[in-house]
């Protein structure tokens, strides 16, 4: 082979063929694993919802249109703004779960929280994705003391985080010591999200609670 230039057509044919083969292989893997992956993803979603709304077995997903209307969404598809309504085995409405995100210490924190339209409180909080400092900022997803803030966080007043040990009002979040920035980001995130979503939910409360 040394020194001889390979014919161009041969190169084209070879690479074309290899690529084609690769493409087919990949599609094969894609098709073969697709259903399993979907099941997995739904499982994950349900688990995280169930964590926020204990006892939940069924969820209904709505997409919020830009005009503030709701349309039901096929499960598993991600889109802009979603509302998950959760029901227990007996079909009882448990509350809604909303998504929110905000810039934290290192990067955007995205999270889900449970909201009770009846009591106008936040009843649960879990982080989906963050790059906060491990051992510090990332405690917002794991620190029991911090998560205890979200047992019944009043939203009638704008939510805000205050320094550790300084919580006095029901709408305040007691920040994690040493991670005030991340904690405040959570506060801002919830405040903004509730401010936007609460009226929409209030408007469609009946429909959501009915689950259609």
């Amino acid at each position: 082979m040394t020194g001889t230039t390979t014919k161009s057509t041969q190169m084209i044919r070879f690479l074309g063929f290899v690529s084609l083969l690769c493409g087919v292989l990949i599609v094969g893997a894609h098709v073969a694993s697709q259903s399993r992956i979907r099941v997995n993803q739904e499982e994950i979603l349900r688990e995280s919802l169930a964590q926020l709304l204990p006892g939940m077995t069924r969820q209904v997903i709505y997409i919020v249109t830009p005009t503030g209307e709701l349309t039901p969404a096929a499960s598993g598809e991600s889109s802009d703004k979603r509302i998950f309504a959760g029901f227990d085995a007996g079909g009882k409405f448990l509350g809604v779960v909303l998504e929110a995100s905000e810039r934290g210490y290192a990067d955007v924190i995205s999270a889900m929280y449970a909201y009770s339209p009846a009591s106008k409180t936040i009843t649960g909080f879990s982080v989906l994705e963050m790059k906060e400092t491990p051992g510090l900022g990332n405690k917002i997803g794991s620190d029991p003391e911090f998560l205890a803030n979200f047992k019944a966080l009043d939203t009638t007043h704008p939510v805000a985080a205050v320094k550790h040990g300084k919580k006095t009002n029901p709408w305040e979040i007691d920040a994690i010591s040493g991670a005030t920035i991340s904690s405040r980001a959570v506060g801002r995130m919830l405040a903004a999200s509730v401010q936007e979503m609460a009226p929409i939910i209030a408007r469609h409360r009946d429909r959501i609670e009915r689950g259609n």
Binding site: T5, L15, V18, I26, S33, R36, I37, P134
Partner: protein, 218 residues
């Protein structure tokens, strides 16, 4: 002359260890090793890709035109990686989440292409797969070493088991980027001092064996 490597498997595992000797595949080495579990998973995923791609490339090595060889190898590697990606996703979403964006980046792990070019392109299928396995496991070994330092110091745990009790003050740094660099440096220093001590011993032995060159003997 190319040294006659006795066994491509051992070669990759120790003598030519990709992490500590060749310093290849550094991105996952540094990025994924903040827990031992991630390190092992990433190492195994890479080993799997290496075995597949080395085998495939060795199989077609005789037919590849020189000018498109890189593109071909890369396409094959990418296929192997995409397949792995789907596999991991199908097996466990939580592992997939931990390895994050780094599985697709196995494609670009220099180690994989280096082995394709440096070994699989020249050798038959079986030794190539052996080499892939050796390198891959060597890589996994390297990652685990690093992961151990980082997890033990950074979180006080090993594979999630608490080692020092609940009051341990974690060294957050080791979970952060600088800690990755430092941990690898620590391992390299350990190996270097080991090698230096060995060298010194060998030199001392050699000095005993050689006759001192005579200086103007009378």
């Amino acid at each position: 002359m190319k040294e006659t490597a006795p066994n491509p498997f051992i070669n990759g595992l120790w003598r030519q260890n990709p992490t500590f000797v060749q310093i290849l595949g550094m991105c996952p080495t540094l990025a994924i090793t903040n827990s031992v579990q991630n390190a092992i998973a990433m190492g195994l995923a890479t080993a799997f890709v290496l075995i597949c791609s080395n085998g495939l490339i060795a199989a077609i090595r005789k037919h590849v035109p020189k000018q498109v060889r890189i593109a071909t190898y890369i396409a094959i590697i990418a296929t192997a990686v995409t397949v792995t990606d789907y596999l991991v996703k199908a097996i466990s979403i939580s592992v997939y989440k931990a390895l994050g964006p780094f599985i697709p980046l196995i494609v670009a792990n220099c180690l994989v292409l280096e082995r394709a070019e440096g070994f699989a392109a020249k050798k038959p299928v079986i030794p190539s797969m052996m080499d892939g396995a050796g390198m891959g496991l060597g890589f996994a070994f390297g990652l685990t070493c690093l992961g151990t330092v980082r997890e033990v110091l950074g979180a006080g745990t090993f594979l999630g088991i608490h080692l020092f009790g609940p009051n341990f003050e974690p060294w957050v740094l080791f979970l952060l980027p600088p800690g990755g660099f430092i941990s690898l440096a620590i391992w390299l220093l350990i190996f270097a001092s080991y090698r230096e001590r060995k060298d010194r011993r060998e030199r001392a032995r050699a000095a005993l064996l050689t006759v001192q060159p005579a200086e103007a003997q009378s």
